[in-house]
Each structure stands twice: as structure tokens, then as C-alpha cells.
């Protein structure tokens, strides 16, 4: 019976601190809508869903419009390019959370054809040159796994004739 589950016991001023852990694994159902979105990414296509009532194209797609509460069924392919609305460059390190090594950037990108922003990583970029309004393009993961990181990141679009 060596099921000792407390890693470390620290005694300080006659009081104890136990270092413990919770490791419960989860499997979340993506549902039909998100599944379709991820299947699109396999083909390097980004799908949104349109609310005809509110005339909003949601990317990523969702089943119900939060504004009018109608079920959404009108799938729309949007561009893999878009405009950077806001971003941040992260300097601290949180290896268990961060898919990239600091410094790296997060951004909210409005893809051409979409009305909502997609929150994602910005990569393959000179971080010092990130600006609101700049154009970005999706970089797809080579071997899709059916999750949000099947878009690896968004990268700046190099203007054809700059410099």
C-alpha cells in the first residue's frame, strides 16, 4: 500500500504544507459544428457559419447565434487571410500552457469574409513589426489532429514588392 499521493511535505513554523496534484483526464465532444470546422482544416479550408437574421459570419463557427438565438446552418468558407485587430507579445514563460516559446504573440484576426475575430497565435513573424491592421495568413499544421492547433498560427503576409 504505497499509494502515497502527496509529493512533498514542507514544515514551516510547526505547520505543514502538502504539495498535491489533480490529474483527471478529459475528453470533450467537439459536436457536429466544431467537428466540421476541424474537418475543413484538414483540407486547409476555414469554414464559418452565417446567421441570416443578424447577417454575421462567425469564425470559428457555432451552432447557435448568441444574439438572436437561432440555430445556424449556413456554412461559409472564409479566406485564410485577414486583418490583425489586436495582439500581445508574451514575454513570460509558462511551458505547460504555451504552445510556443516566449517571446511569442497572440492576436485576434478578422478573416476576410468573417465578421468575428479568431483568437490565435502569431508566428513566423518579426514581433517588433506587428501592427494593428496588418495582414496575416493562416499556417496549417502538416498533420492535422482535429483540434484548434491544426491552424499552427497566423503569419504576416509579405508584400510582394517591398524592399
Amino acid at each position: 500500500m504505497d499509494n502515497e499521493t502527496i509529493f512533498e511535505v514542507v514544515e514551516r513554523d510547526g505547520l505543514l504544507v502538502h504539495q498535491g496534484v489533480i490529474r483527471v483526464p478529459y475528453t470533450w465532444a467537439a459536436g457536429e459544428v466544431a467537428s466540421k470546422f476541424y474537418m475543413g482544416l484538414r483540407d486547409k479550408k476555414i469554414y464559418g457559419i452565417r446567421c441570416p437574421h443578424c447577417d454575421i459570419v462567425f469564425v470559428p463557427p457555432k451552432k447557435v447565434c448568441h444574439r438572436c438565438f437561432d440555430n445556424l446552418t449556413e456554412w461559409v468558407e472564409v479566406s485564410d487571410e485577414g486583418t490583425l485587430e489586436t495582439f500581445t507579445i508574451v514575454y513570460y514563460s509558462e511551458p505547460e500552457l504555451h504552445p510556443m516559446k516566449a517571446p511569442f504573440a497572440y492576436g485576434i484576426i478578422k478573416l476576410d469574409g468573417a465578421d468575428t475575430g479568431i483568437t490565435h497565435l502569431i508566428g513566423e513573424a518579426n514581433l517588433n513589426r506587428l501592427r494593428e491592421g496588418m495582414r496575416l495568413k493562416a499556417v496549417f499544421r502538416d498533420e492535422p489532429q482535429g483540434n484548434y492547433l491544426d491552424i499552427k498560427c497566423f503569419k504576416p503576409i509579405e508584400r510582394a514588392n517591398h524592399g
Partner: protein
Amino acid sequence: MARRTAIVGVGQTYHTSKRKDVNGQELINEAVKRALEDANLTLKDIDAIIIGNMDHFEAINYVDCWSVDGSGAFMKPIMKVTTGGSTGGTLGACAYYHVASGFFDVVMAIGWEKNSESDTQAAISTCADPILERDFFGGAIGPNAAEYAMYMKEYGATQEDAALVAVRDHNNALNNPYAHLRKFITVEDVMNSPMLCWPIKLLDSCPRSDGACAVIYASEDRAPKITPKPAWVHATAVSHDYVYFGDFDWEAMPTLEATATRVYKRAGITNPLKEIDVMELYLPFSTCGVIWMEHMWVCSRGESPSLIRRGVFDMEGELPVNPSGGVLSTNPIGATALIRIGEAALQVMGKAGDRQVSNVKTAMATAFGSCYWFEATILRATKP
């Protein structure tokens, strides 16, 4: 001055073991839409929303905020309540106080769980104190099993008495299209099902389900305009105890007795067996359906088995219990107790379909959480 409050709409999902076709928000949305449809309301009519579940089943922090796409809380007030298995009772009470206080006129309570998304027992065992009890908590079945073992010894009850409760609830579920387990069973089936913890067997215990339930509460002014026969809330009550699992006295069930006593007093009930027409009880094990009737003052100590054998709590009996099939047939944990309230309301409103008990004037719903947290609600067809 308290405002009178009634339930005016109920919606739930078709509960099942695993819903792969919807994520959590979408599951919630199904129940919400059905409740709105039931009350013939639109989302615009809802002034505030309350949602609840148990975090460690799905690992979503700030569920109230996350839920917006499903719950409809965009630019509305929403808050989250949670008390474990009793969450649904806590939700119903919270919706009631939202209206009774005068702050809101029409309020929706939503309970949900996707138990398929984690290992239910792993998640549940994190409710035990991490330093002293977590490693020794393999579930609530042990105390319940010991409780029934002692009860059998003291009052001459049998395992078959508990099996009768299981048979009643499971077979009632055949009349409920929303129930998760809908299969005809016999006492022999229960007795022959695998022993989990003597004397509790597999068919004596509840399943784990994916599901959601939404219940709409409305003020005195609004309720009669929404539905001709609202289910009026006459009383709610809660009692709970203990910090550690080892604290509770489950032979005396003081929290259930306190809850029952309080809710009867608030609703003016002196003889529950005679005055209540139907009960939707949160019975996690069939054995609870034997013993707890006594702690709820439905009959005196040791008398429950004979009432069960006589069919007093069957559909055609004097006090039908769990026409819906109860927790033994459906258990999306954060929704389970709200389903009890919703089902009790449907009975009062006369909208329970094939599971309708005739002429229900007073209904009672209970909730049970793993910290022996009991909640109870009394609904009536007449105004308080």
C-alpha cells in the same frame, strides 16, 4: 414583502450515456429551447439566468460565462451556483429567490452535465479533502450500503424491498421519453445484477448521463399570462452538514429530517402521505427509496417496506414516487435535481404526458448532494 412565484416552463434533453454530436453549450441550448417552447416564450422574455453543474466533470472554469452561446445569457444577468449532486435543487431555489425578491420577473434555471467527458468517479473523489480523505473515497456507496445493512437487521427489511424501488423507478421510466435507461426490469433482474457493495447491486444504483434541464420561473403578475396552470412554489428548504465524509451520522439522517421538517412547515403540510400527491425524489440508490421515506416523515420508522410492498408509492398508489423514472434511470449530475423540480412542476401543470399522475394538486421534489446536502421544494396548483 415576498412575491409569489411559479414555474411556467420546463425543458430537457433526451438524456443518454454520451452525446458526441453536441458540445456542452449546444447540449444546454437544447434544454433551454425546449423550456422556452414549453412556456411559449422567447429569449427576450427572460430577465435573468442561473446555471449550475460540477466543475470537475468537464473542467470548465466560469461556466456561467462560457455558457452564453447555449444559455442565451448574452447581455443578460447570469450567475452560477453549485453544491454537488444537489446543484439542481440549489438552482431551483436560486431562481425562486431571484423572482421572490422582486428583482426579476422571469428567470431561467439551467442544470447540465456531460458525465461522458471525464471519469465520473475520479472527478467526484476530488470532492474529498485532498489532505485527509481523497485517497479513501471510492464513492458514496459504502455508507449507503452499510446504512441499508443495518436497516435490514433492525427492521426486517429485505434486499427485495430495495429491488422493488428499483423496479418501480426503472419501469416508470418507460413512460418518460426523456429518460436515459428505459428497459423493463423485474425484481429478479435486480437481485441477479452484479453486486457492487453488499447489499447494493448494479440495478440498485444510478447511471451517469449526459443531459441538461431548464426550468422557467415567473412572478405572480407574469405567470398566469404565460401559462393557464402554473406550478406555484410554496416552499423551499435546505439543510446540510459536515466538512469531512467521516462526520455524517447517516443512521439518523439529520439533514434530510431537518429539510423535510422545514419545507413541510413552510408549506403548511402536516401529513405528507395524505397531503402530497406526487414526489420526485433524488434517490441515488434504491435503498434510499426505502429508508429515506421515513426520514421524510412519510411513514414511521420501519414502516416503509410494508408500504412499498403494498404499492403505495407506485403509479397507481396513494403517493406515486418518481413517475419520471427518477435518478435510477437518468443522472446528468448537475441537472439531476433540477429534473426532479421540472418533473414535479409538469405533474402540477398536468403536462407530464404518459407519466402523468391524475389530479395533482401538491408535488414535492428533493435534491441530494454528496455532502448530505438535502434540498426540497413544494409546488402546488394553487397560489400560496
